[in-house]
């Protein structure tokens, strides 16, 4: 799986890493049980600080998506096929989604278009097969 970070972006690198990994899990290119490189190894491959990767991995661990082991690195704990999320997930996710939807509403995007765009994005997840990110080198 390819992981890309934008070093000129205003989004912090640990946030980008966390976001890309969540997206890869949703897209199916990182199914439950698949492994990610050890913190130091990934930091060296990117040429970034070890604490940055650590921070991203720790966020994902707190979200219940990753399991961290000292030697083997990180393992994906769950994916779309692992069943519904824990009860505490929905409220905080809804809060963040509310802000995102509010941005579109405030800009005057029609409700039908918002729903259509959300559906198109959702359709992009879970296919996995035609995903170019899935190519192994």
């Amino acid at each position: 799986m390819l992981l890309a970070i934008d070093l000129t972006s205003e989004v912090p690198i640990y946030q980008q890493l966390r976001d890309r990994i969540v997206e890869a899990i949703a897209e199916g290119s990182l199914p439950s049980g698949s492994r990610l490189p050890a913190t130091r190894q990934l930091a060296a491959d990117f040429g970034i600080n070890f604490h940055t990767v650590n921070k991203a991995y720790d966020l994902l661990r707190q979200e219940g998506l990753l399991q961290l082991t000292r030697k083997a690195g990180a393992t994906v704990l769950r994916d779309a096929a692992s069943g519904p999320p824990p009860a505490e997930f929905a409220p905080s996710w809804e809060e963040r989604t509310r802000t995102l939807l509010a941005e579109a509403v405030a800009q005057g995007m029609p409700k039908s278009e918002i729903v259509a765009r959300c559906e198109a994005l959702l359709a992009g997840f879970g296919t996995g097969s035609s995903d170019p990110l899935n190519t192994e080198g």
Binding site: A4, I5, D6, R35, Q41, A44, G47, P132, T135
Partner: protein, 369 residues
């Protein structure tokens, strides 16, 4: 005598060839050690500098080569050959540095990175499904060390009281030592240490950082895998070649084979020349980081260019980045790896390597006494 000139001539020609071809072995986005975006590789200034550099390196080789040949043939001073090689290396470096400065100036003047997103891409599969280290390729080198040691142990009781342990360029013995484990096995110790060092180094480079091209990550990930595998095999082949030379050297010390004068020198040099030719041919085929190797087409692009990291490279040759956890990185002008001098591990590595490099002749010197 002719054999000695032949070996020095080979080294000289190889250096001219490597200087001349080096820009073609570098990624097009790293002309003369300067990082540029992919859409700038065809800039007229770069094309001009490439042409000029090639002309100058070739001309330098011919001029210095002619002077050295004339002086050596007329005066018979062998030192001219070594001096000629040092002068050659310096002048070729000047041509590189000149082009390096010019590309940097054009890049800054034209603001080539304006508005571009600079990023880094990593293929996690290179780490989670790593290709196996080619351990089988270490067998010839390790086998030769063991074979040399066994022959030495068998021969030791029958060795004469005085051993010829040093030969001059004409293949005539000019250094002698009393028989001892140190004098008889000096080359075996050096052979073992050298082999261990090369194998250890190849393990490190085999796992070294992947430096994917952000503009072509899929292709460069394939090329990275092929490059580290083939380079490791070539380095282990070179180790075996060095061991063959050490084996011949030891056999000469033990009197199993007689020094045949200058021809011995050629015999000793040939295996190493074979190893160097092999590794050079591979470098030309793969290019630095394997970018010349064929790779599958992919439409995937990250939409980003490679990070402009010039500020961490002194003269485009020495890497110093304290925020980079990697201690070994790809060279920018040359095929292979260099150290990150901002990493403490690089200094440890340097001290150990220098220690062994100084330690090996020390063993040799011990053998004299």
């Amino acid at each position: 005598m002719a054999e000695f000139y032949l070996i020095m001539g080979f080294i000289f020609a190889l250096l001219v060839f490597l200087s001349w071809i080096m820009p073609a072995l570098m990624r097009p986005t790293l002309p003369f050690g300067v990082r540029i975006p992919g859409d700038r590789t065809g800039e007229p200034l770069i094309v001009d500098e490439l042409r000029r550099y090639r002309r100058l390196t070739l001309l330098t080789g011919i001029v210095i080569g002619a002077i050295v040949a004339a002086v050596t043939l007329l005066s018979g001073w062998q030192e001219t050959l070594t001096a000629g090689i040092l002068v050659l290396i310096f002048v070729e470096w000047v041509w590189y540095y000149r082009a390096h400065r010019r590309v940097i100036a054009a890049k800054h003047e034209g603001n080539w990175y304006a508005g571009l997103h600079q990023g880094a891409v990593v293929d996690t599969g290179i780490r989670t499904e790593p290709q196996p280290y080619p351990w089988l390729w270490t067998l010839p080198a390790i086998g030769l060390v063991i074979a040399t040691a066994i022959i030495g142990i068998i021969k030791y009781p029958d060795l004469p009281g005085t051993l010829a342990i040093h030969y001059n360029a004409q293949g005539v013995a000019n250094g002698f030592a009393g028989k001892s484990v140190w004098s008889a096995f000096s080359l075996v110790f050096i052979e073992g240490i050298t082999t261990a060092l090369i194998v250890g180094f190849s393990v490190l480079t085999f796992r070294s950082r992947q430096e994917l091209d952000s503009e072509h990550p899929v292709a460069s990930a394939q090329q990275h895998r092929a490059f580290v595998r083939q380079m490791t095999q070539a380095v282990l082949f070179l180790a075996a070649c060095v061991d063959v030379t050490m084996l011949f050297g030891s056999l000469t010390i033990w009197g199993v084979i007689q020094s045949t004068g200058p021809k011995s020198l050629l015999g000793l040099g040939l295996p190493i020349i074979a190893g160097v030719v092999g590794i050079t041919a591979l470098a030309v085929r793969t290019g630095q980081s394997g970018h010349r190797l064929p790779a599958g087409e992919s439409s995937y692009g990250s939409g980003m260019v490679n990070r402009d990291d010039d500020r961490y490279w002194i003269g485009g040759m020495i890497y110093l980045n304290r925020d980079d956890p990697a201690f070994m990185v790809n060279k920018r002008f040359g095929v292979g790896w260099t150290l990150n001098f901002g990493h403490p591990g690089a200094w440890v590595f340097l001290v150990i390597t220098l220690g062994i490099a100084i330690g090996a002749p020390l063993i040799s010197a011990l053998a004299h006494h």
